[in-house]
């Protein structure tokens, strides 16, 4: 059985400054990584002989419009099927430089996950073979999951936000 502390220590020893903010909400090891080190980090975890994080569960993003310099957070969930161990890596990006390297050379499944993240948030995955919109139509000129795009029709005045949640 792997423990969160053990895996976290290995990652710190290997990557030092590039990783940080270790936490384990609901027992899921979570930490941040720098953008430059995300591909080496995932490759290291994937090729590690005992950890074998061979399964990419999910890629998605979160938008925090109020935190300057860290507006976007790309979230990776990895799963080591051999050890039954999951972990979550977060990479924070600034709104003005919203680029991150792609994981498609490591996992074929990253292709559509990254396309979806690009479609909904506008995160640009450098090196992606086919970075196009996937769920929405090509003609759309905005990324709908960003917080500034309201769910309701913005021109309507009869719907008050406070009555409908946010």
């Amino acid at each position: 059985m792997l423990t969160n502390e053990e895996v976290a220590q290995t990652i710190i020893n290997q990557f030092g400054e590039a990783v940080g903010e270790f936490d384990d909400p609901f027992d899921l090891l979570t930490f941040t990584a720098s953008r430059d080190q995300i591909v080496p980090l995932v490759r290291f975890l994937n090729e590690h002989t005992t950890y074998q994080f061979s399964f990419l569960t999910d890629i998605t993003a979160i938008h925090y419009p109020d935190s300057a310099g860290r507006e976007f957070c790309v979230v990776y969930h990895l799963h080591s099927l051999v050890n039954n161990f999951r972990l979550r890596i977060k990479v924070y990006l600034a709104a003005e430089d919203i680029h991150i390297p792609t994981l498609t050379p490591l996992f074929a499944s990253a292709n559509w996950m990254e396309r979806e993240t690009f479609d909904l948030f506008g995160v640009i995955f450098d090196g992606h073979p086919d970075l196009r919109r996937i769920l929405n139509m090509e003609e759309m000129d905005y990324h709908p999951m960003r917080k500034e795009y309201p769910l309701e029709d913005a021109t309507r005045e009869d719907k008050i936000d406070a009555l409908f949640g946010r």
């Binding site: 609901f26 399964f55 569960t57 938008h63 099927l81 039954n84 996992f107 946010r166």
Partner: protein, 410 residues
């Protein structure tokens, strides 16, 4: 003659060894979006060399309904209706998965009886899901009989849904904190009657297909995928198990008391259409085993958690009791704030790992909610799986992958 043979020889060369010379001019074929064989709205643009598929590209998003965006404005209990509409062949699993995610965030412990009822409903949903997939696979290979034989049982499963929650397809079953009502005696009777009848029908179904020469010719060795590629493509569920990887969320990360039940995980070898079909068949047998164990050992006790601030009080109480009235009002109006937190919870859906990634900022609605939809992730592999095969093969591969448009697009 000689040049023609040369052309054919060139055609069989792997792509790395130089440009491939095709015998015929390439044809573009639009398989979908409203083709009867897609069983949903999505498109495959296939490049055909005669009857052979050279390459393919999928276009999806025709029924994208922006559930993740809608969820950011809804109180937690109202999101259940969104999950119904993802994999609509097994909506109870989606509902329960969502309830469990929120319960994890809220720290609510659900009593055993509710967990067992959930297991029963989830396994019934898995039966219905696999029935449709395997039945339709039969239809797509030209065998309508099997589909008709088993469809009565799907109807009976839907009647049980009706008895438990009042709805059939988009069930909105259960609540955060348990089930909305206990299993009625009728529901228990119907479930107990279903098991032996289902076994009989399933045997009949297997007799029709498993060793059927015509069926086997269509599916054996068609659309195979290696375990390595399947993992790289993010396959989960029966499709991954058909390729030989015994990953099942129910066993790896048991939820809702799955550890109490004894069942086997069927595993295939070559990951081809036949293996997928057989794995799903065997999973139906295992689901029946689980349902039987759960209904026979149904624990006594309440069917909801003791969490008055999250679970709607009984209606009689609301009219008489001040606290109940307050909670009723607050829950229905969505005035209950969830704690701050970040949760990933996965359940074994009809198609594999259905994950809910929920971030709460302490408000009444999620700050961000992401669904890990198994269909969306493994459908990427489709062009690779049907490359070099014929159009009729491509159709059975699509059927056997069980691509559900609602889950594909969310």
């Amino acid at each position: 003659m000689v040049s023609e043979e040369l052309d054919i020889a060139k055609k069989n060369l792997p792509a790395e060894q130089g440009p491939v010379q095709y015998v015929n001019e390439l044809t573009t074929l639009n398989l979908g979006p409203t083709h009867p064989a897609t069983h949903g709205i999505f498109q495959n643009v296939l490049q055909m060399d005669g009857e052979k598929i050279v390459s393919g590209e999928q276009t999806i998003g025709y029924i994208h309904r922006a559930f993740e965006k809608i969820a950011e404005r809804r109180p937690f209990y109202q999101i259940t209706t969104l999950t119904d509409r993802m994999n609509y062949c097994s909506s109870p699993i989606n509902n329960m998965g969502w309830h469990m995610t929120v319960e994890k965030l809220l720290g609510v412990d659900v009593p055993k009886r509710a967990q067992y009822i959930r297991v029963i409903m989830m396994e019934l949903a898995r039966l219905a899901d696999h029935l449709i997939c395997n039945g339709i696979l039969g239809v797509d290979t030209g065998a309508f009989t099997g589909f008709l034989y088993i469809y009565q049982e799907r109807e009976n499963i839907y009647e049980i849904y009706e008895e438990v929650c009042g709805a059939r397809l988009t069930t909105n079953m259960g609540r955060i904190g348990g089930m909305e009502r206990d299993l009625s005696p009728t529901a228990i009777r119907k479930i107990k009657e279903l098991i032996p009848r289902f076994r009989k029908v399933l045997t009949e179904f297997e007799n029709l297909f498993n060793r059927n020469r015509i069926f086997m010719d269509r599916v054996v060795g068609v659309g195979g995928i290696t375990a390595e590629r399947a993992l790289s493509y993010g396959f989960t569920g029966p499709n991954l198990r058909a390729a030989g990887v015994d990953y099942d969320v129910r066993v790896m990360n048991p939820y809702s008391s799955y550890q109490d039940f004894e069942f086997d995980i069927p595993v295939g070898q070559s990951g081809d259409t036949y293996d997928r079909f057989m794995v799903r068949n065997e999973e139906m047998w295992q689901s029946l085993r689980i349902i039987e164990q759960a209904i026979n050992n149904l624990p006594e006790g309440p069917h909801f958690a003791d969490a008055p601030q999250y679970y709607l009080p009984p209606k009689q109480e609301v009219y008489k009791n001040m606290e109940a009235l307050i909670y009723h009002f607050k829950i229905v109006m969505g005035e209950i704030d969830a704690p701050i937190g970040e949760v990933y919870h996965a359940v074994e859906g009809g198609n594999g790992e259905l994950g809910f990634y929920l971030i709460s900022d302490g408000g009444r609605a999620p700050y961000r909610l992401h669904f890990r939809r198994p269909c969306f992730i493994y459908y990427q592999a489709y062009p690779e799986m049907c490359k070099g095969l014929t159009l009729s093969d491509a159709i059975v591969i699509m059927s056997s992958m069980n691509v559900i448009a609602g889950e594909l697009d969310a």
